[in-house]
Amino acid sequence: MKKKLLSVATLLLIANSAIQAQTTIFDKASSWRYDDKGVQLAGQWKNPGFDISAWSSGNGPLGYGDPVTTTIAKPLNTAYFTKDFTVNLADLSATMELGVMRDDGIIVFLNGVEIVRDNMPAGEITYETLSSTTVDGANESIYNVFSIPRSKFADGVNRISIELHNRGAGSSDLRMDAYLKTVPDNGFDKGSSWSYDDKGVQLAGQWKNPGFDISAWSSGNGPLGYGDPVTTTITKPLNTAYFTKDFTVNLSDLTATMELGVMRDDGILVFLNGVEVVRDNMPAGEITYETLSSTTVDGANESIYNLFSIPKANFVQGVNRISIELHNRGAASSDLRMDAYLKNAAPPVVIPPDTSCNDGNHISCFTSIVPTAQTSKLIIPTQHKYQLILKEGDSYTEGGGFVGGQNDFTGYVAKKNGGMPSSTDGYLSVNHETNPGGVTMAEINFNAATKLWELTKSRAVDFSGTSLVQTIRNCSGGVTPWGTIVTAEESVTGNDTNGDGYKDYGWFVEIDPATAEVSSKNANGTKGKLWQMGIMNHENVVVNDAGTLAYYGEDGGTHMVYKYAMDTPNDLSSGNLYVLKLDQGLTNGNPVATTATWIQVPNKTQADQNNTTSLAESLGGTRFNGIEDVEISPVDGKIYFTAKGLDKVYRLKDNGTTASEVEVFVGGGSTVYNLHTADGVKSEAWGDGNDNLTFDELGNLWVLQDGGKNYIWVVAPDHTQANPKVKLFASMPAGSEPTGLTFTPDHKFGFFSIQHPSSSIATDVDATGNTINYKGKSATIVIALKQNLGIHGSLGTIDHAIDHVIVSPNPTSGIVQINSGNLKNFEVTAYNLLGQIVFKKSFSETDSITEVDLTTQFLYSNMLILNIEADGFQKTVKLLKK
């Protein structure tokens, strides 16, 4: 679950494809004519038509003393360069980018007119004039970027002439090279030049405004920063670095929204003409130099250009100023980096509307959320609500101790009601992917009146006993058809603390949720682990409905897919073990052929059980990368599995000793899917980290992502890569990933965990109406369609309310007055924090004031939720005890 197997290459690919096509007029290292005779030339030398046929020529860089392609005579005070090039004015951008590597000073003429004077004094310049400063070190090799307006160019042939001045004829080096290219109209490109302030102090608030004087700021091309590959290295360490640049737009050429791509490590605020337009990976509220980003950006996420849409309305005709403040995760962080581009947004893709959810009553019926970077809150579709069930650090109701961290597999096991599995009464098993590990076993009930889940009991699963030696890193797992939980130890260790001959950790362990004890047994009757299923970095297990086959995969180690055929149905303690071998292997993460073979892996002796993976590897199993989950589709019966490191979900048809129809089902890090969102059609890349999988009974595949943007995706059963049917269900709060989704048998409710959210996330209001706080604590929640979870209306906040209906006093000692006007069928219900109804009263007609006495109820609660309903009116108020 945890290992971040990221595909940098694919992300860079996406990033690159975002660059607008660009025309290079002449490139670096192109050919120049030059004069190196060491004398003053006539003033006309720079004019078009001046005869340069006798001049030498050679490719850049030209000069001496530093690496050059063409060596010229030395020593010189000044060298003269020129070249002709042809342009079609209509193809040029409004401003053109001229990049010049110069050691030391230059004056550039276009068609005889001076357009650039850089590192040279003002006034008249002769052969003898020396540059203003010495250029040395890294500055000798950078291409200084200058913007040249299109109006300076002529249609057809143009002549550029550059005089290159030394710092002194005694200087050991002199060098020049240059390029000229278009820049995207109405924006700027990756790697473009920025002015920056890296002094490590808070700037005045006006720094971001157009007109603020940045002439004393340094400048350099992106990426800028330190600790990661950059073009321009800035001072370190910093909490915040400030960047700004001016660029020109023609409003009539802009698309309705502009695409801003920012590579940021770690958090940014972007201002356009002084107005904040983006806040990404940063907390809400006031931001200063000291403010740190919300989360650490690392791995491949450091190199992604995050996409933001900026409405056209934010731009002005002509020159605009973009200002970016880049915040570190901590001054001690080793890296800080930023680069950005701006361009017209691609035209929206027309995709047919989603018609899969006509009745709207299934949990999979929702409108995709709008693609987003992780924010400070959980984002789920507007059709859904969520309720916090338990979180890290909560005290157990029985047996002492408290809920562990890193909540992972979250399995609902239905209790039987009259022989039927209940969707309102069950066990909730939550793995803790920690070392030492653990499993929380809770008992939960759905209260039909409040439409809320209640936790009636919670305790730690008992892994004590010398025959077990506890468990570690309980990662994912599975719920068996016979109503037990299998928890998966993701780490393998070799030690054998209890001397039973088995390595201590790296096994499946079966748990009876009713007793919260281990139910798998050793041959001698003591509690044991499921030795014959083998030792590995176990991640997950799925058992078929018949209770005869189990499938699982290894995350790390062999990265292979395994199958286990039980000797006796519904008994995992003995069986034969197989590893999946694709007949022709994988190329670039894609199966070369559609067939595969299951190869038997020895698993009957302790020595073999303790060494499953090296045996499977020698026997030729196919190595994927990070098998995080295997599931069986209820629709087509195929076996689906994720390979996180390959960013793909695969599927195959199991034929017993062989398999067929092996293919990629969904994904590919750079695969972009179109989504119908409340904001219209949006695109989003699948990204990294497909992890836990779950099917609902309709065959929708819910894919939980660890890495990338930590989304929950939902893929329709009739999805194909050619005809994609992918929706976006959720975005996790900053720093966290979703883990271990399971559903109640009626599929009204889904339970999952939010693993390791950052401590900077925001509080939220869940379906109970209470403010919940799980900052820095892994949490387990239930999701459902709005109508199935919580009472109507948005609790805690006053929503769709009639303003003049007020409950007072609040806080109260018990008696409150409600100015109910003349509402009809007025009803007041009070709930305590457990969601229980503690007071309910109806009034068929009301006076202007209705009095309610809650004195008794406040004896037992410090806070009550009042739900006030009447014909055409509903309001919820949080009432506090004085």
Partner: protein, 300 residues
């Protein structure tokens, strides 16, 4: 006398209980503030995946900790505060960017398990040999180029895992680590183990994915060996002395250059699993071996 015995039993019980890290008896805190504020003694702390560059200084106050997990952070060094935790028995610093082990490591005298997988170690500080209670060390996936000599002076070690380093030289005095049961040197750059002497107790030996041409004679003197993996090497023949591995249950010789095996292999009566895939053996050879060893399942 009785009392002393009782005390001994009690102490044994305690240490056993601790080793098991019962999450209820020894809940693992993940938040330093919660741990500091706790009215109960804090024994176990995990900062896994917290994005830390340095450890909180307050950690020094948790001087009863016997378990500390620092896995998957951004640590580039082992902060001093770690070495003030003298009760530590289990220390996990996997998946960081640690380049060296400071001298302070020698202070953690009660340490039993040290896991430093997936770091950037090029050497193991010899101070580690002061840890005479150490049973398990994991230095997988570092940049070690020789077998850490200091480990030879820790006879209590039962498990050494050094896979996926660049080790090309292994001391021939491994037998000094008398209690060693599990040794994993796979995926290194060993082509010759010289005259290596193995500890008598050794039970599992993993040498796969090296460039070993010849299995050293001493390996065949390990009468307690149950599992031997020498797959993915360049071994051309096996000595008839292999018959001395009388307790071996599973042997993986896959992906070598073996054309045949000595007939003495038939005396390995406990051998249940023999993997020979990826060797240039004929079907006849395999058939003969199967006849010779009816009690063994041969994978080819």
């Amino acid at each position: 006398m009785k009392k002393i015995l009782l005390l001994i039993v009690f102490v044994l019980f305690l240490s056993n209980a601790k080793a098991q890290i019962d999450p209820v008896k020894y809940p693992t805190y993940t938040d330093i503030d919660a741990a500091i504020l706790s009215k109960k003694t804090v024994y176990s702390m995990s900062f896994r995946d917290k994005g830390l560059y340095n450890l909180p200084a307050d950690l020094i106050k948790l001087d009863s900790l016997f378990f500390l997990n620092l896995m998957a952070n951004h640590l580039e060094k082992m902060d001093k505060v770690i070495f003030s935790l003298r009760e530590l028995e289990i220390l996990n610093v996997n998946e960081n960017g640690i380049k060296f082990i400071p001298d302070g490591i020698g202070e953690l005298k009660k340490l039993k398990t040290l896991s430093m997988n997936l770091n950037s170690l090029t050497a193991v500080n010899s101070e580690i040999s002061k840890l005479q209670n150490l049973k398990v060390v994991h230095f997988d996936s570092n940049n070690l180029s020789v077998f850490p000599e200091a480990l030879l002076d820790i006879p209590s070690l039962e498990e050494i895992n050094l896979h996926s380093n660049q080790i090309s030289y292994v001391s021939d005095r491994l037998d000094k680590i008398k209690n060693l049961l599990y040794l994993n040197l796979s995926a290194n750059q060993i082509n010759d183990l010289g005259e290596v002497k193995l500890p008598k107790q050794i039970k599992y030996l993993e040498l796969q994915k090296n460039s070993i041409v010849k299995i050293p004679e001493a390996v065949f003197q390990s009468g307690n060996m149950e599992f031997l993996n020498v797959s993915d090497n360049a071994i051309t023949q096996i000595s008839p002395k292999i018959r001395a591995l009388k307790n071996v249950v599973s042997m993986n010789l896959a992906n070598n250059r073996l054309r045949d095996l000595p007939e003495d292999i038939q005396y390995l009566k406990k051998l249940k699993t023999l993997i020979l895939v990826g060797n240039p053996m004929t079907k006849e050879t395999i058939a003969n071996l199967r006849d010779l060893m009816p009690q063994t399942i041969i994978y080819f």
